[in-house]
Amino acid sequence: MTKQNQPTDYGHPVQLRTEHFYYDNSIVRAFGMATVIFGIVGMLAGLWAAIQIYYPQASLGLAPTTFGRMRPLHTNAIIFAFVGNASFAGIYYSLQRLCKSRLFSDKLSWIHFWGWQAIIAAAAITLLMGKTTGKEYAELEWPIDIAITLVWVIFGINMFGTIFKRREKHLYVAIWFYIATWVTVAMLHIVNSFEIPVSFMKSYSWYAGVQDALVQWWYGHNAVAFFLTTPVLGLMYYYLPKAANRPVYSYRLSIIHFWALIFIYIWAGPHHLLYTALPDWAQSLGVVFSVMLIAPSWGGMLNGLFTLRGAWDKVREDPVLKFMVVAITCYGMATFEGPLLSLKSVNAISHFSDWTIAHVHIGGLGWNGFMAFAILYYMVPKMWGTSLYSKKLATNHFWLGTIGIVIYAVPLYWAGFEQSIMWKSFTPEGQLKFQFLDTVNSIKPFYILRSIGGSLYLVGAFFMVYNLYKTMKAGSFVPNEPAEAMPLIKIKSEQKEYWHRIIERKPATLLVLSLIVVAIGGFIELVPTFLIKSNVPTITSVKPYTPLELQGRDIYIREGCYTCHSQMVRPFRDEVARYGEYSKAGEFVYDHPFQWGSKRTGPDLAREGGKYPDSWHYNHMYDPGTMSPGSIMPAYAWLLENRLDTASTPAKIRAMQKLGVPYADGYAQNANSDLMQQADSITAGLKKDKINTASDKEIVALIAYLQRIGRDIKGEQNSTAAQLNK
């Protein structure tokens, strides 16, 4: 029925024979299974990390399971393993049907599948080992980065191969989103992963300080946009009309919101860096493009929800639609909240607090999680030729998930707001009203509630596993699903087409146009920040790290300290009073990578150097509770035992030299003697405070780094310096 009138469409009665072919369901099943497995794994990692925040002993005192390493594991597992696999499953299922063609190459499909799973396994192992670049959502080290690039290219070839051999003249809107996803993620990943390898599994970011921060958040923000949003919007455009059996509400809304979304999204990255040392003009661009992003984002939501016009009675019955409706609503809420959080006045309160975490989880649990569940509930019965084992169980999953999201998010919103307001409170005498620890202790109950919400959501996911398992048992899997369609014959249409219809016929044009549209924003923001010197004013007193400090910094990165501690004092009265002089762009010119952080579960460390004695840090790392009673920081006892790997020092110095850090020529050879000298002076100082430690322990290097952070600029501030020297 589908294309029986095609020949006459073009005014040429051509003799055509229906072609018979098979859709590949096996690859969809494989990606679907991986989605479920890694979804559970990722959520468990998240729950574990969440419990550690109020009960640090849950880290078991082991380096691999401590929050600083569990948190990257959780985010990477959810983004790249759970949502990634769900997107691949959903794309491969829908792409074949929208193109009326089997996937381009079974072999490529399976290389894609196993390649991606191998990357996930490698990611899990290396992240727990502490192999990390220290850049959020891009923590994976360079060999894995290269593997990702290769697998992504294979995915691209397979997708475009399928598109080129399609039996459908035009590309449906879902495919536009798939194409934009592919090309933009490729661009983001490659640009952000520029790094110089020091050894196998250790590298330094190509960019430093302010530039690194800008590239990172250009990437980080658009990973959300083009890994968690556009592919899932594409999925919505296929699965929602299919499940509801309703026509898509508005074709022209699809066109406008697609192009506007991908064009505007890319600019909004700097809203993650408001009030930081990033130049003001870049911050402003981040703000205004975030505000303009409301409508394009909502365009997707409206097109989804309005497609359900006339089918709301089905929503009452069908769990698939239930999940989708809440998912799309969460998408709408998160994309409205996002621009609000991008306003400087709101951001001043929300940033670094749990507000951001709550916001992200509306998107993650609501939009991504629920969409993944919906397409699984849709595809599994179809591919196993049966109906869902239990609608009631799926409905229970839906309610558990929904209640879970509410119990997760509401306490965190509250916690974030309350803590931030406490940070900003002053007594009438002009002193900070609360010490940092007071603010942490006041929000602990909310942390507990949050983990309860997360648990409910996880229990719901287990319901789904059982339900899908029973469904699979009841049906029989159809690995190759027969289909038929007329071949696509290139005949020039004589009718005048709507301009966008022409683009929809030309996948290569669509690809190139998408690339141009997404490249503009990044180009305009990144290039001037790199080329124009005034964006990062030089501070002469800022010097490169000593070899011991550099080693200590790498330990700081390895342990994921940046997941809880920022290094960015914003120009606010309370932050200057609490931490010290606000951060300047010129302070970070030797920071490869930057470590500004995005969350203050613990206090900011940008001015940590010289604040406490070495012995304080030593005791604090061994057991934080002794130095800050009530602290929720985990113990890092292994740092007191581990020997520092000094063999890597020369390679690290050489790598830094290549990145333009002005160490003297040949310094790499002498670096270790300087290192030992500095270490000895630290251990000598510790001895005075009744602490005996060898100079070759990791803790010594970390102390050296912590005592250095933020001190260089003090050389220029005479008043502070004078006090220090008195």
């Binding site: 505000v291 303009m292 120009p571």
Partner: protein, 389 residues
């Protein structure tokens, strides 16, 4: 169409009435400035309520008039409407009468220190009357609006193919649904076939619905806001940069603190601080000590990470003024506490620390710094004991 008309009318008239009110109000206030009645909170709130209600009535009257005129224009034959218009005009005029009444009341020459009973009841009855008028108008507006809408939908459904069935469905729709349909510019589902584009992908069809107007204009608005934002921050510089914002905030806060301290008379500093001896001060000092100092100097002052505070040896001086300064600004590894504790509190904790001298706690840290002879005389024994260890 109708709503648009109404809003354009209202937007034209509301400013006029508001301006009128603004002109009238100061006049009233001035007249009353000399007497006490206006200072009475009850009077003020009653007058506020009367004015608000008056505004509401003017607003409603505007809607009613516009509605009625539109209806008249369309159906001149309908007598019922004419009577409604007459009614509404009557109501409106009555409102105006009462509006004048109200001013008359507030301007009434009978002045007492407190609000007189007569005044009070007049005001209350004015408010009641205003309420009745407003309610009556709302009732009429709803009636006319409903008739209008029914007429409109009747016309719409007549043109549609499925006249009878559709009327039944459409009539069932609630006001909310109507409003929703209008604001989104929905086309009735029954007419979907007209906007089907004929696209079809794996059974998915596409409609050619118009963009929801509020969405489109919202988009334009955000673009407009973006331009204004960039203009203000980077062209006209009428909005402060992050750094300017910071300077402003600190300046304002400093002034406030100064004012507060001046009022409170607390201006302790390192130049005039004296050791406090009252039990209250010392126990407050002890509490601060245990919270913030004990982690480094131990509960008993014996020292651990930080130096021993109980012996005769001092790195930065044992006088209250020097100790105050050390705590306030910090030195070397000693953190500053001026942003955490007020000067009074710092004086308290310094005074408390002085009381620890000579307590000679077990496990005290070895002496650091120079001996302070001023206080050493009475505790030579301690030093000897320590050096023996």
């Amino acid at each position: 169409m109708l709503l648009k008309n109404i809003f354009s009318r209202i937007s034209a008239r509301i400013p006029i009435s508001v301006i009128a009110m603004i002109i009238v109000l100061p006049a009233v206030a001035q007249e009353k400035a000399t007497n006490q009645v206006l200072k009475n909170p009850v009077t003020i709130s009653l007058i506020a309520i009367m004015i608000t209600l008056l505004l509401v009535i003017v607003f409603l009257a505007n809607i009613l008039l516009t509605l009625a005129k539109a209806k008249l224009a369309r159906e001149k034959k309908n007598r019922k409407v004419r009577s409604l218009v007459i009614l509404s005009i009557m109501l409106l005029s009555s409102a105006v009468v009462f509006g004048q009444d109200e001013t008359a009341v507030t301007a009434s020459p009978y002045i007492y220190e407190r609000l007189s009973k007569t005044d009070f009841f007049i005001m209350i009855s004015t408010i009641l009357l205003e309420l009745i008028i407003a309610l009556g108008m709302v009732f009429n507006i709803r009636r006319i609006a409903k008739e209008e809408r029914d007429a409109e939908t009747e016309k719409e459904t007549k043109t549609a193919d499925l006249a009878y069935a559709a009327t039944a469905i459409v009539k069932k729709e609630s006001d909310n649904v109507r409003w929703w349909n209008r604001i989104n510019r929905f086309k009735p589902i029954e007419q979907e076939a007209d906007i089907d584009l004929g696209h079809e992908y794996d059974g998915i069809r596409e409609l050619d619905n118009r963009l929801p107007p509020w969405w489109l204009y919202g988009f334009y608005l955000t673009i407009f806001v973006a331009v204004i934002y960039l203009w203000r921050y980077h062209v006209s510089h009428s909005a402060p940069s992050s750094e300017e914002e910071y300077q402003m905030a600190v300046k304002k806060a400093d002034e406030e603190v100064k004012l507060y301290l001046a009022k409170k008379g607390e201006d302790v500093n390192e130049n005039n601080v004296v050791a406090l001896t009252s039990a209250d001060d010392l126990s407050a000092g002890k509490a601060i000590y245990l919270k913030s100092c004990a982690v480094c100097h131990k509960d008993n002052g014996g020292g651990e990470v930080g130096p021993n505070l109980t012996d005769d040896y001092w790195l930065h001086g044992s006088e209250i003024s020097k100790m105050f300064k050390t705590i306030r600004y910090g030195i070397n590894a000693m953190p500053q506490w001026q942003s955490t504790y007020s000067n009074k509190q710092i004086a308290q904790v310094a005074s408390y620390i002085q009381t620890l001298h000579g307590t000679n706690p077990p496990g005290g840290k070895a002496p650091q710094g120079e001996i302070d002879n001023a206080i050493a005389s009475d505790s030579t024994a301690t030093v000897e004991k320590l050096s023996v260890k």
